[in-house]
């Protein structure tokens, strides 16, 4: 695409982004000082070492965008950085031995962000390789099932071995699937939404076009059965349904999909122990046989939430370590205990901002592919937050989804930062076309 570059000597200033990043920097420093001081009972300069590295990383990303004369959105990066800062503070608080590992992952995530800004030269070209993405995604999805490379941790078989560690391929699958869905739906939305045959108020598209819905349902169920990962199942299918609805505007598909998910869930509940255990724990965690068994984690989390009250126990002052595996599964409860309802609402407001901004980017995007891509990417973050926070608060059954940007975990942090970069790229395309900021 031909575009006249207006000659700006140094780069293109991003004042909004910079001013927001200053607050993020302050947030990181204060959080670390509070947590470290509470633990060691003294103020030490060493406390600001990790936040300083983080601030340097974020500022260098900012400078990188300026140097590239990048014209994309200025809000999303600071929001993601703020959440990552809260995440680092919480890792220091809940599992300080994992802090250096998480900091390294944060740096890798920053690199992945920069690479995603640089590498796909033309975003729309991603649509042309849609079947490649689909194939790769399915391959990664089933990879943990193979005996040598797959690995089962905490009852879920969703990991593959890489060198000494293991990564969660599902995280990368999220992005691949959204790109594929966006490209597929852009091509076939006409057929799917303007079918001439109707059954009452519902469209009846030609059978071949129904295949993807059924195939998606099958794959989602497969994940539930063999990898024992209910969270991924809900996310995977949820993203697909949301994008299908966005592309076609037919509530029928969403309802059909939900019905399929409910039927699948019910059958799985009847047949599989791990699904049954999740649901039982959710419905009656305080029962005698569950209270100190599978329900222990959830019950401790609920006590932590209750203990938080309106303004919390104060950072570093609560007892979140009484929740097992709190740093990866229950960070929301831990944060709510120490900062109270006030902190919990602020945290959710971060995600609200992210979703709102992402949807605006989708609305402004010039082509259906880019619109669906931006909407799907924002929706991943929203749905993930909903599923894990709902699980932590016992509104829905608990699943092993990570709280985006905040929970401990490398694969998730890296892919979420790539997701932010993709959203920025979409907003850049619209800004260039519309002559906006």
């Amino acid at each position: 695409m031909r575009q006249a570059q207006v000659a700006v000597p140094i780069g293109r200033a991003r004042f909004t982004e910079l001013s927001l990043l200053v607050w993020v920097a302050l947030l990181a420093v204060l959080g670390f000082i509070a947590v470290v001081a509470a633990e060691t009972s003294t103020f030490a300069v060493a406390a600001i070492l990790v936040p300083s590295v983080f601030i340097l990383l974020v500022l260098s990303l900012h400078v990188f965008l300026i140097a590239r004369r990048f014209r994309g959105d200025q809000l999303l990066m600071p929001i993601a950085a703020g959440l990552t800062a809260i995440g680092l503070v919480l890792v220091q608080r809940l599992a300080s031995d994992l802090l250096l590992q998480q900091l390294s992952w944060t740096i890798i995530a920053g690199g992945a962000f920069a690479a995603t800004i640089l590498i796909p030269r033309d975003l729309t070209a991603l649509a042309r390789f849609k079947w490649t993405w689909a194939f790769l995604g399915v391959l990664l999805l089933v990879a943990p099932l193979f005996p040598v490379i797959g690995r089962e941790i905490n009852g879920a078989r969703i990991w593959i071995k890489v060198g000494p560690g293991s990564i969660e391929p599902w995280e990368a699958v999220k992005l691949l699937m959204v790109v594929f869905f966006a490209a597929y739906l852009e091509e076939y939305r006409e057929v799917l939404s303007h079918s001439q045959r109707r059954l009452g108020p519902f469209p009846v598209p030609p059978i071949p076009y129904l295949v993807p819905i059924v195939a998606m349902w099958g794959i989602a169920m497969l994940v539930m059965v063999f990898e024992k990962d209910i969270g991924a199942t809900v996310l995977f299918f949820g993203i697909f349904l949301a994008m299908l609805f966005l592309a076609t505007g037919e509530a029928f598909y969403a309802l059909l999909g939900l019905a399929l998910l409910l039927v699948g869930g019910f059958v799985a509940y009847q047949l599989f122990g791990h699904v049954q255990a999740r649901v039982d724990t959710w419905l009656r965690p305080f029962d005698d046989e569950l209270r100190f068994g599978t329900g222990y984690q959830l019950v401790q989390g609920l006590y932590a939430l209750a203990n938080g009250g309106l303004f919390g126990a104060g950072l570093g002052n609560g007892m979140p370590d009484r929740i097992p595996v709190v740093w990866s599964d229950f960070v929301f409860d831990a944060f709510a205990e120490e900062t109270g309802l006030a902190g919990a609402i602020a945290l959710l407001a971060f995600y609200l901002l992210f979703l709102y901004r992402g949807m605006l980017i989708a609305l402004r995007a010039p082509t259906p592919f880019l619109q669906l891509l931006a909407a799907g990417l924002s929706f991943i973050i929203a749905l993930q937050t909903l599923v894990i926070v709902g699980g932590n608060a016992r509104l829905i059954p608990l699943t092993g989804i990570t709280l985006p940007f905040v929970a401990y975990g490398g694969s998730s942090l890296v892919t979420n930062w790539m997701l932010v970069a993709l959203l920025l790229r979409v907003s850049e395309v619209s800004n260039r076309m519309r002559g906006g900021p």
Binding site: V24, L27, P78, A346, P366, M433, G436
Partner: protein, 145 residues
Amino acid sequence: MEITFAVLLWGVRIAFMVVLYLFLIRAFGALQRSLASETQLAARPLGIAFLVVQKSVRGAPRVGDRLPLRAVNAIGRDAGNDVVVNDEAASARHALVEFADGEWWVEDAGSTNGTLVNGATVRSRERLQYGDELGIGRVALRLEQ
């Protein structure tokens, strides 16, 4: 009051919460401002140029109608487009016509039946001259000043 370690620590904790909310207030403010400028952009006067209907079908704009253009125009069957072409052969979001670098450009937005310029299918992004005829579905539109 004596400033003890505990008081200082609570000071830091409260400062953390305050900064958390200040960030959110700033971010919502920035969102608000960008929405406002967006609205301004959309409210720019119409009529830098016109698409004059040459050929049409029932329900679509009538032959001879002068459809005003903005700087950036989405053309398609959906009511949300800047130029609505209500023809079954047109896609919901069919094409984009925009004024950039002092010239008019047309780009197909992934339409089912394609976009034509003077009878030739638009491949990627093509320049439009005044007098060129744009084909969207069964409707023909001529770019005029």
